[in-house]
Assembly symmetry: none
Homo-oligomer: 197 residues x 4
């Protein structure tokens, strides 16, 4: 009996979709590709999903959830702001390079149809706010310089979101080293006092 493997088809499909979307982009990826990669026929996907667009939604939903859960855990921890930020950065970079939905999340959100898009955007906003809260906490406790927390959060996000664009699995830097470098760099910015000339 193949009951043990057939038990969770939808997650498999979502993962396959994430892979396809990541490799070729949402628009270029075809339902055929996705179906084939889970050994199904195209129409069978419609037993699990209403739409190609819903498939995108499910991929992105799972992905943001993963990111948000991770960041929430850090936020709720008893670490000091500096340590929280280091962990947040490190986690974010690791997830980015390992979670197959990441690229799609950064690139294809705009392809989501109305109600889906709003939900994902909300989740993304939540992530930014969690990050911002850590920044604020650091400022309040005197660990970080008193600069615009909103722009600071966006500055951090930009820097770390870019890693997947140049990271190569067997390149000169390990994920750990990258995380260390980015942590150092961003903390210097955050602690920095007088703006240099």
């Amino acid at each position: 009996m193949a009951s043990s493997e057939s038990s969770a088809r939808l997650p498999q499909i979502i993962e396959a979709a994430a892979q396809c979307f990541q490799e070729r982009g949402y628009l270029a990826a075809t339902l055929n590709d996705i179906a084939t990669s889970v050994q199904l026929q195209k129409p069978t996907l419609y037993h699990y999903v209403k739409n190609k667009n819903e498939l995108l939604f499910l991929v992105l939903q799972g992905t943001v959830e993963t990111y948000n859960h991770a960041l929430e855990e850090v936020s709720a921890s008893s670490l000091n702001p500096t340590a929280k930020l280091r962990r947040a950065i490190s986690q974010h970079i690791s997830l980015q390079l390992e979670h197959p939905g990441t690229v799609t999340l950064f690139r294809d959100v705009e392809e989501l149809e109305k109600p889906y898009r709003n939900e994902i955007r909300l989740a993304l906003k939540r992530y930014r706010e969690l990050l911002q809260a850590i920044v604020r906490e650091g400022i309040a406790q005197g660990e970080f310089a008193n600069r615009d927390p909103s722009m600071t959060a966006l500055f951090i996000l930009g820097a770390i979101n870019f890693v997947h664009r140049w990271y190569r699995p067997h390149g000169p830097q390990s994920i750990l080293e990258i995380a260390q470098f980015y942590g150092d760099s961003l903390l210097m910015t955050l602690r920095g006092v007088d703006p240099p000339v």
Copy 2:
């Protein structure tokens, strides 16, 4: 009579394409959209361009050139590294928010076919190297701390490339303020000495 205006048809087409690609993405944009927006019929585009893909290439080529020219000028100037970096950052952000090809450049390079893609990638590499050179110069002259120049350049690029994702024309920060903030932030990172705990 009309020869003087018709001679500039290709640039118009490229600009229209840049607009369409930026708004809807390379794949979603149709030749029809582009043709219509320059008051031509779809097949007429083939008198100016071999391909939809070549059109993408031309858009991206023009865009990287603009970026590279701007950065080369800064590099060749007699400013000190700190000032050069400030200018580079400022220029980059301004261009990004004003040049219509930027988003396409960041998002759709992968859609380019082989020979085109290589050329654009080369140009992008050139841009990174120019930036890296400034970093190296700053380290050599003692203005910047001695940290990996390659990763530093990528760090900078990530941070500043992200601006267009959240900038809103009538938002709370002006382009100038953003440039100032990013310049400050990045210079703090670059000058920073002791790695924070």
Copy 3:
């Protein structure tokens, strides 16, 4: 326990099908619609019916039977031809506006596959012939003018079959008034003389 209700499943299905076919047409109606409206799943229908087409057949079969039974009763009665025709017309119109399979019978017979179609056509022919027989009887007894009984029957059928296309439940005329009007009109034609009382 539940055997008494489950034994009547097929009639329920046929009725649901009649409803769906009437509202959306045979081709547009889906097995899913039908199944759902009797709280079953699509494949379950195949326990009761061989085919979507058989379902159509069953709907139409039940419908023509109803019509034929009603007309046979009238034919067999001891009324005079004039009275028979009045009753036939009245019944036909009432059935048409109340029996859910009627529209499908008029519109979708052609969708029936070969053997089914023939059977239904035969039943429809029987109905025409019963009507024709009344006409003939009326001519023989001098109540109706001597005109082609076949065309006369078709003339009658056309007139009364059209009622459902314009009748509105809360419109200006009641079913009774309509039946009266059509009875008067057709009898005038048949008698070829003054309008009957």
Copy 4:
């Protein structure tokens, strides 16, 4: 040069569509059938038509127009009501048996999408009203008995619309004979007196 034949592709397509719709019904007919029957490929149809639904609209529009023009001409003529009605009936039946869009008009109007449907329904209403006007005129001039003109018009329409359901090109009655029979029958009804000569 084949310029003389290629001049009017759209009318050809509409006619082919009318044929296909009539034979198989709007839903069952495929764009492929239609395209093939005018020796085109399926996508080529989209140069001439926005939609399959628009194609249906064009077919029906042409058809109602034909009917309405014919009836308007009769209405505007100087014939007396009785003669007008005879002509109207005769024309209607002829058109019905010859114009390929008729069956589709009677059966598939409901498949039209919103704005199209309204337009066709309006045209159909116009036809009914023209017919009704003749009835009214006849009553006013004492040629017809004084009975509900609206129901009378619907009675007439039902009777004559049914002809195409039983007419066979080489059947026992010619179109002319049928028209004569229906004219006689309906006038008897309308006059409520002896059969006309």
